[in-house]
Symmetry: C2
Subunit: 302 residues, 2 copies
């Protein structure tokens, strides 16, 4: 029986060169063998979608600030957002920054908010590009993105900056829900085929504050969110490695996206947390990929 302990697992990852310790919590470096597995995992996920007509795009780790403003992100998750600020003053004002730094003083009042924030969810930058009328069958897009959540933690699966392989479907409600259901099954099968003790569960987003509890309850009631969970640092509290979200018409409304027959478009997205799935593989099969079960290696080393 495996034992679970966050600190022991983190130390093991570091000792095997899989993680490279770096200052800020949840923003460590990744060693070559870690990223090799992560990239192979991503390629396997893409192969599982090979039969689908899916477009691919890449968006940077920063997105338009108005996206989070227009979608109510700061109502629901004000504690998770990372905004980007910069110095916009003149030369004489700039000198104050190194002076404050040398004095060990704060210097954030010398900066101003820019027009970008760190991307909190891989799919966010897609929606404003879809404003208008969708093609007959809607849209189906995939992206690999670095996302950010301001939740510093020593627990190694609780990253602040991490990669997500995301798929997004926009279109009619039935299309979108059927697609989400298909991927829930496909994602679970994919992870189980790698020997991972994965299971799916209805879930809720980590909404902020007391009001958030009601939002979370509503989300669970309506089964708008599912997660695939795998024990990595705890058996009682397994790690969410994939997330499947049905947004109903939230983004269609926010960005004026319509289906070909003129309805407000619905959308759903799903994301594989690539660092988390990779950690689940190292936890389940050990720190040395060369010793992993052949059936697992055959799926990843193709």
């Amino acid at each position: 029986m495996p034992t679970y302990d966050a600190k022991t697992f983190y130390n093991g990852l570091v000792a095997h060169g899989l993680l490279v310790p770096a200052g800020p919590l949840g923003a460590f470096g990744r060693g070559a063998a870690f990223d090799d597995v992560l990239e192979r995992m991503d390629a396997l996920i893409l192969r599982s979608a090979r039969g689908d007509a899916v477009e691919s795009m890449t968006f940077p780790p920063v997105i338009d600030r108005t996206i989070i403003e227009r979608t109510g992100y700061m109502d629901s998750f004000p504690h998770l957002c990372g905004t980007v600020h910069s110095f916009t003053g003149r030369e004489k004002d700039a000198r104050a920054i190194p002076q404050r730094i040398a004095a060990g003083e704060r210097w954030d009042d010398l900066l101003a908010m820019t027009d970008v924030v760190l991307n909190p969810a891989a799919c966010y930058p897609l929606y404003p590009t879809c404003t208008g009328t969708l093609p007959e069958d809607g849209r189906h897009v995939t992206m690999l993105a670095w996302v950010y959540r301001q939740e510093p933690s020593e627990e190694p699966t609780r990253l602040r900056s991490f990669r997500v392989r995301e798929f997004v479907r926009l279109g009619l409600p039935d299309t979108v829900v059927a697609w989400r259901d298909l991927w829930l099954e496909r994602g679970l099968e994919l992870l189980i085929s790698l020997g991972l003790p994965a299971r799916a569960e209805v879930a809720a987003d980590p909404f902020f504050g007391k009001g958030g509890k009601m939002l979370a309850a509503g989300q669970i009631d309506q089964k708008l969110k599912f997660e695939v969970l795998i024990p990595v640092v705890s058996e009682q509290d397994p790690t969410a490695c994939c997330s499947f979200n049905y947004h109903q018409d939230k983004f269609g409304q926010a960005f004026a996206i319509r289906t070909a027959d003129g309805q407000v478009a619905h959308s759903a997205c799903l994301g594989f947390g690539l660092e988390r799935v990779t950690m689940a593989l190292f936890k389940t099969h050990g720190f040395q990929p060369a010793s992993w079960p052949q059936v697992v290696r055959d799926r990843l080393w193709v």
Copy 2:
């Protein structure tokens, strides 16, 4: 003879699905064909380094704020830095954020600076991990990183958020300089082999303000920085697609890095701006990779 015009080039990239327009300047999306070329270019660069004993690491787009504080980044480039801020208040304070957003008011004073900033140069997070004594032959590390520079521009090669394939060498001065010289030649040859009109030139960093002019002149005098330039949006003002930087003992001093025989370590780095090299390929050979010269295709589609 090619003609050069930033707006026409940007529009061409968009019309061919290579760039996906998104709100903030310098932070657009990349289409599948664009990233396919970018990834092939990155793989070609890595193949050119195959004979070297180089470690690979990955760092997130955000790094420890103290790295830029300790290395004087805010003295030299206060205008380029993107700091990350977040909400750290209580529930009642959080409600003010959506209220301000709804009223079209600023909300940056409701946030506080976090311990991370956007990574301004791919190699920065490496140095603090090297504190102490280096192995006999120093260190040689490569990384692919998203970096950020706060320089909004409509000129398509002037990105704010972009990917760099970076190589870093730490060790004795002679080792580091010889390595930099070898890569300057290798990088230039690699780009010329792709039919790109590339040339190398002594260069200076975009230091801030009047004092910066002197720093830039000193950098040029000492030949501490070289760039490989390719005309993409202008013939007179070609785009810097690679940068080769000899830091002398700057990072060795800042992070207490010593060579095996006890000297302060010197370092150099070089980076290929992957979006810029990719754009240079599209500018030089046209928007449709299927029509590129066979000799170029043979190098990238292996």
